[in-house]
Amino acid sequence: MMAKKPDLRRFPGFLPLTVLCVFLLYAPLIIVAVYSFNDSPSITLWGGVSLRWYEDVFWGPESDKFKQAAINSFVIAVAAASTATVIATMAATAMLRAGSFRGKGASFALINLPLMVPEIVTAVATLIFFSAIGFTTGILTILIAHIVFCIPFAYLPIAARMEGIEDVYEQAAQDLYATRWEAFRLILLPLMTPGILSGFLLAFIISLDDFIITNFVKGAGVETLPTAIFGAVKQGIKPNIMAISTLLLAVSILFVTLSYFSGRMGQNRK
């Protein structure tokens, strides 16, 4: 009798819609990636496959600008993601391992606040703040702004991981006369590694990708890759922009994949 029943999980048309959804998400990216290999100075006509625009990105007339922007982006992303990961790990330990304390209820909302405030509002508020206290905008202001919005992105995988680890291991360590610091360093932290890595990588991508907030607080003369790309696109889309976009796309996909697998590595551990 069960076998004759139609599959209740299936709805007609949902498969084509899913395929359409994935197609819509990827088609523009794939087209730009394909055209970045176009051997033609026109972005419209196809002139065969070549790597000339990648050469242009690395050695062409604008390469110094993009290299400096890439270095800035990378340094800021490493520094912001590392700081945010440390802060988020401490915060997750407080929220999940420290019983109750004053302000615990508000803490969760506070950690997630950067996700709830629209980016343009954060950008304006941060610019006004640095201007009001007379702080010159530059790399340091970008870094501070990035740390703020990286915290919730680092926190989510770290807290999810910590929630899945029972505290019996730390208790066992403490029963065997480990101090709390030792229990943290030798037991909890190694168990947390996949979550912390996943959090760091997500914070890194988020920092690397940010445009709006960076554009407000960067000050004159300082560029990150997204602001440099945006500046170039304002003059029109040129083939070298497609090459550099494709490179950044590859970096994002690489890091998401790494983060995804480091998160799963943790889940599969028995």
Binding site: L24, L25, I87, F101, V121, A132, D167, P226, I237, V256
Partner: protein, 307 residues
């Protein structure tokens, strides 16, 4: 390990009891000083007087909010009329964000459902495919869209060659382009929370409905949608809120004629033509609108848990 998700120590673990405040303090300090305080200062700035080179004079003024809502003529002494320019920009932002939400829901719900009902192995692949664009640089995704829909871009070329159209469709710098950009930007935000809700859905409910001769459509509208509603609402908020304050889509795809709130605010902080108090006021109004949406969401969640 003794159990799966949910069997962990949860919120009762107390290994580091007494250190809670110390451990949470860095997060409080960083977010407090560099986000909460700045929003407070922004509120103050919205009540200051504008300085002509960009910046402010420390003198209390309601001029920013007044300029937003009222038109007092060129010299400021006409009887106040309602100023529609900015209200219309906000209104357009609201309905464009709303339409983006609706479009994302129409394609996001079937996608989320389909993925959640796959066997575990293929489900991971589908889910990964949806997750990747979520993390790809928004600027690059917007540029890709701009490249695709240009007058002589790949989309028009392809449609012309296949004979679907005889003249290029002019999309770029229209509201339709902005709409496409918003939809494309935030579509993954709709799929993921609905997926999470469908994954927890108990299919015994569908079986019970089928046993009682409910049609597929009735099961969908009367059973499934009400049960996964929290995921749908979360998805709608995750699409609506960033769409409302979006800057890149209207700026790169909409051009000068299709302003949204984000572009209006941005303009106030660029160069000498800017008006910082007005920009701060517009940002405060946007933030208030988002807070209203979030409070509405939190209340609906509470009611769900209370029921």
């Amino acid at each position: 390990m003794a159990g799966g998700i949910g069997s962990g120590p949860g919120k009762s673990a107390r290994t580091y009891a007494g250190f809670g405040v110390t451990l949470i303090l860095p997060a409080w300090l960083v977010i407090g000083i560099f986000l909460v305080v700045p929003i407070g200062i922004m509120l103050v700035y919205s009540f200051l007087t504008k300085e002509f080179r960009g910046g402010v004079i420390w003198e209390f003024s309601l001029a920013a909010y007044d300029q937003f809502f009222f038109d007092r003529g060129l010299f400021g002494d006409d009887p106040p009329k309602i100023e529609w320019t900015y209200i219309l920009i906000f209104w357009r932002s609201i309905w464009q964000a709303g339409l983006a939400t609706l479009l994302s829901l129409l394609i996001g719900f079937p996608t989320a459902w389909f993925i959640a009902t796959r066997p575990a192995s293929t489900r991971t692949i589908w889910l990964f495919l949806i997750t990747v664009p979520y993390w790809v640089n928004l600027l690059i995704r917007t540029i890709s869209m701009k490249f695709l829909i240009r007058d002589n871009g790949p989309l028009n070329t392809w449609l012309l060659e296949t004979g679907v159209i005889s003249e290029p469709i002019h999309l770029i710098n229209t509201w339709v382009a902005v709409q496409l950009g918003l939809f494309y930007s935030y579509l993954p935000f709709m799929v993921l929370p609905i997926y999470a809700a469908v994954e927890r859905y108990n299919f015994a409910l569908s079986e019970a409905a089928a046993d009682l001769y409910a049609s597929r459509f009735v099961t969908l509208t009367q059973i499934i949608i009400p049960v996964v509603k929290p995921g749908i609402i979360a998805g709608c908020i995750l699409v609506f809120v960033p769409s409302l304050g979006s800057f890149l889509a209207p700026d790169l795809l909409g051009g000068a004629k299709n302003f949204m709130i984000g572009s209006l605010i941005d303009e106030q902080f660029k160069g000498a033509a800017g008006n910082w108090p007005f920009g701060a006021a517009a940002a405060m109004i946007l933030l208030s609108m988002v807070l209203i949406v979030l409070i509405f969401y939190a209340r609906s969640q509470n009611r769900q848990e209370g029921a």
